[in-house]
């Protein structure tokens, strides 16, 4: 029999997270700080709207690009929050999570051999999606000393005449790093000059902890027309399981994305779309409440790390901290595996998000404070033990 498989797919590396997951699942009583989704339930009024839509028998397809009502609310929301203006009829597509938007965005924009710039550490799907779109992924390794922000210099160094799209993953999973207005302005200059496009994954836009709100790169002069903004409901409204996201951008790009979406997906889940309308209409307070709780946990962890002298830059976004463990002289995977087996706490090695995540761990604070406290106590014990081991080795 012939080989039934496509080389393109077979050659994609298995997810580093998956590998670690298989180890964790064996540990029965482990506590986990390894989850990339909110611990909150979807606010009740949003769930209620989903239930109501089922009761009313709204169980059919919506139009390919999404429910008109929802697209209108998305436009209002982006306008209210980020001063972005989109036409609900031509410049919005509702997708199955932000993930689908990443995939179809790349497929709509890339010709074989064109280069996509992917800053890492970052979410696990950019590189595989780029490969599946026949792009050449070009990794930009972000640095801890820049708080994992993308600098103008780093961007310039990676641009060739094949470069077409920059993926901009901020606020960032796994580092918690953000790009402030001035950071974006610096790179926007280069993007315009080099005639690039941006896929800006802003799924964590609601979860930033500085006084100034999240800024979308599409807000900057000259950037709207070269940016696809990706956002969704998973993180802000604790709706991961509803699988709902969206992309906004210039009509000519969105039109092609809708074409792929209509053949591959048809439309995003109808129940979720009705629920999402309620989220955007009346969800601001829910989001503010959850943000405040995340922020408290973030402060708690930063303080705990300071006290145990664990190196960590202060992250201002998402719900992750990304401490550095280089002082212990082991790889992220060794650290995470030992921490799991000896203290029964699961964290994700930074390398799951790119090679340059080596020497770091992703710790999620989408957990109750009590849960975090238990984990921090165990981390402290573990860190002290490692330091003791090092002292013995040195003498």
């Amino acid at each position: 029999m012939r080989n039934p498989l496509a080389d393109k797919v077979v050659n994609i590396k298995p997810s580093g997270i998956r590998k670690f997951f298989d180890i964790v699942i064996e540990m029965k009583d482990a506590i986990s700080l390894g989850v990339g989704e909110p611990d909150f339930d979807t606010p009740w009024h949003i769930r209620d709207e989903g239930i109501y839509s089922l009761e009313k028998g709204r169980t059919f397809y919506t139009s390919n690009a999404g429910l008109k009502e929802l697209k209108v609310e998305i436009c209002r929301y982006l306008n209210r929050k980020m001063n972005l203006t989109y036409d609900a009829d031509h410049e919005v597509i509702v997708t199955v999570g932000g993930s689908e938007a990443i995939d179809i965005g790349l497929r709509a924009m890339i010709n074989p051999g064109e280069e996509v710039l992917i800053p890492q550490p970052s979410y696990v799907s950019y590189e595989p999606c780029a490969l599946l779109a026949d792009a050449v992924p070009v990794i930009i390794e972000l640095k801890a000393e820049n708080e994992f922000r993308l600098t103008k210099k780093e961007l310039l160094e990676h641009i060739t005449d094949k470069t077409k799209v920059l993926i901009l993953p901020f606020p960032n999973n796994p580092t918690g790093g953000i790009m402030e207005r001035s950071d974006l302005e610096a790179i926007a200059e280069v993007i315009i000059e080099k005639d690039l496009f941006v896929i800006s994954d802003e799924i964590y836009a609601e979860l930033t902890y500085l006084d100034e709100r999240h800024v979308s790169i599409a807000e900057l002069p000259g950037m709207w027309e070269r940016t696809i903004v990706i956002n969704g409901f998973s993180k802000a409204y604790a709706m991961t399981g509803w699988r709902l996201g969206y992309a906004c951008g210039p009509a000519n790009i969105i039109e092609q994305m809708i074409k792929i979406h209509q053949y591959a997906i048809m439309c995003a889940p109808t129940t979720s779309q009705y629920a999402a309308v309620a989220a955007l209409r009346d969800g601001d307070e829910d989001v503010a409440g959850m943000r405040e709780e995340y922020n408290q946990r973030r402060r708690y962890l930063m303080n705990a790390f300071r006290e145990m002298r664990l190196e960590c830059f202060e992250p201002y976004g998402a719900f992750y901290v990304f401490p550095c463990i280089k002082e212990f002289g082991m790889t992220s995977e060794e650290f995470a595996t030992r921490f799991l087996t000896e203290e029964k706490v699961a964290v994700v090695p930074g390398t799951a998000f790119g090679d340059c995540g080596e020497g770091f761990l992703r710790i999620s604070y989408a957990y109750s404070l009590d849960n975090l406290k238990t984990a921090v106590d165990r981390l402290q014990l573990f860190v002290e033990r490692l330091r003791e081991e090092q002292r013995i080795k040195e003498n």
Binding site: S15, I17, F21, A30, V35, E37
Partner: protein, 160 residues
């Protein structure tokens, strides 16, 4: 800042000021001063413990009692409310809009004790016109805390 402090200690009055300072991102001394000021002003009136008595061996009966009463000229319901809240078995007294005037919550050792209180003490007060007693059979949620179910993390252990 006061609002944030109150929100935190309303759910957990045992949280220490140092931890509160870390969580809210402010100086501990400011927290101490604010709490002291709010205690002095009577904004913070006490620190209680939420107990699910059903899980203990101590027998307790709680009841809600609706009271219709005649207000007194010049002082409204003040004097009747005061008369009622002085009984130690009464745990709260609220003036209510709607079909009746006062809502009383009461704790006693047994049904009989609560009934005796209503018939002997409450109903016999001059300004009380009528009462309706509702015994609490089960508490599902109290002071924002769900008593019947433990939180269970339903998420996968590791996700990207």
């Amino acid at each position: 800042m006061r609002q944030k402090i109150l929100k935190m200690i309303e759910h957990n009055s045992r949280i220490n000021t140092g931890e509160l300072a870390v969580l809210l991102g402010v100086e501990e001394i400011d927290i101490i001063n604010q709490i002291a000021a709010m205690e002095a002003e009577g904004v913070i009136c006490g620190y209680h413990t939420l107990i699910d008595w059903d899980k203990t061996y101590i027998e307790k009966v709680s009841a809600l009692i609706e009271v219709r009463a005649t207000p007194k000229r010049g002082q409204g319901f003040e004097s009747i409310a005061e008369r009622i809240y002085k009984y130690p078995e009464v745990s709260s007294v609220f003036l209510i809009s709607g079909a009746y005037d006062l809502l009383i919550t009461l704790e006693g050792k047994s049904l009989k004790e609560v009934s005796m209180f209503v018939s002997d003490k409450l109903s016999t007060l001059d300004s009380v016109l009528s009462t309706a007693t509702h015994f609490i059979l089960k508490k599902y949620k109290d002071h924002g805390t769900i008593l019947t179910k433990k939180y269970e993390d339903k998420r996968e252990l590791i996700t990207p």
